[in-house]
Symmetry: C2
Subunit: 245 residues, 2 copies
């Protein structure tokens, strides 16, 4: 590391935060990098712990670092990283937990007769209807995810009248219909964006898009929901924290 | 469903398995579809349970259906679906568990000085070396995954002399070096295949490829391994079985 210039007109903590910022932007400290402990880093930089903390706080305020109680200080990721590979939470729930502000546009909310594969996965009798819910999620950066959900209308009658601009799908099923959501199977693949998906997410047609397919089951084992989700990988990265045992 | 022809020269169980096979290949019964219970299905088809079972067993033998104790009979997926989004298992372990035969080609197994971002994520001092392990995994269908692992050589000295054609990386770390692997952070994104990745996986350059990035930590919290993994989504689909609570 370059040394601190004690005679420079710039305060030492500011020199330090400049240097750390460079480390981050130039990739020497990549996303998720855990900084050394404060005593170690202060010693290495030849500054007091108070000065080091001031420098760190500047970068925390800028959103470049974050502190995790008991684990240390980490470089923030530049993309949103919901843990939807790991927990059966919804994007809405993950965004809320992470403090990410999203806007939801409801593109479709209507009862339809589903295609045969969807009807089969949802255990539906011929002629039975589903809620087709199509939503686009946006953050400040632009559209991040297009969601197509198909929900059994016999299990949740009247669900097409709910306002999914403000409500989450699982929230409605659990709170308004008192359904117990049990588990889900999610698969992840990289697919070329179709014209429709590309237009919705602001990608070139054929550009790679992260595709998730899901079937959700109630606690009593009845399938309740099928979904197709397309994610803009440049803006949102699916994350999983996994334990070996 | 079409009716069974009791006067046809084809046995009833064979007519039934033909019909089910058509349901599967034509998408009416998609991958992961759970068939109705045996009594229900037998009644619906107008056959005895014995005849139904014979038809089901034909399709189980063909690999189109699989039975899960206590849960029922399901349509098999046409792609391999390891649960690596869910558990900290390795592709090798998941393949072995699923009975998928894979072949491993070791493209590189050598000590190198890592790039700065990798060194940072692995908490390495300047000049410290890592094992660079590059492997290509193939199934009968062709290449399914290209894996680039970087392993701290100071934690596992001599690891570059191991034979990774037959051994798994986690297996070596756990069994030969008695290391306790704790947890990992995995991120998933859809990326365009670079020329090198495309050539290895048999894709067109720029075609979508499922990209996984991972940092693995030991139980004592030291980072031990960083990896880049590229997956051919048409041949292998990452799966996660998630519980709500």
């Amino acid at each position: 590391m370059s040394t601190i210039d004690r005679d420079a007109p710039v305060a030492i903590h500011a020199q330090l935060s400049d240097r750390f910022r460079r480390n981050i932007t130039q990739g020497e400290w990549p996303p998720h990098y855990r900084l050394k402990s404060e005593p170690e880093l202060a010693r290495e930089c030849g500054v007091s712990r108070g000065t080091l903390r001031r420098a760190l706080h500047t970068l925390i305020a800028e959103g470049l670092l974050r502190q995790v109680r008991g684990r240390g200080t980490f470089v923030t990721s530049t993309v949103i990283e919901p843990a939807i590979a790991q927990k059966l939470s919804t994007l809405t729930e993950d965004f809320a937990r992470a403090g990410v502000v999203t806007e939801t546009e409801v593109l479709a909310c209507e009862l339809i007769a589903p295609l045969k594969p969807v009807a089969a996965l949802l255990d539906l009798a011929p002629g039975a209807q589903v809620l087709r819910l199509a939503r686009l999620r946006r953050t400040e950066q632009g559209p991040v995810a297009l969601l197509h959900n198909y929900v059994r209308a016999d299990i949740a009658p009247g669900i097409e009248q709910r306002d999914f601009v403000t409500l989450s799908l699982f929230g409605v099923l659990e709170d308004e219909y008192a359904l117990r959501i049990g588990n889900a199977r999610r698969t992840f693949s990289a697919e070329p964006a179709s014209g429709e998906i590309a237009a919705a997410l602001g990608l070139e047609p054929g550009a790679p898009v992260q595709y998730l397919q899901q079937v959700t089951y109630l606690a009593d084992d009845r399938p309740v929901e099928y979904s197709d989700v397309w994610i803009h990988s440049g803006r949102l990265r699916v994350t999983s924290l996994l334990s070996r045992r």
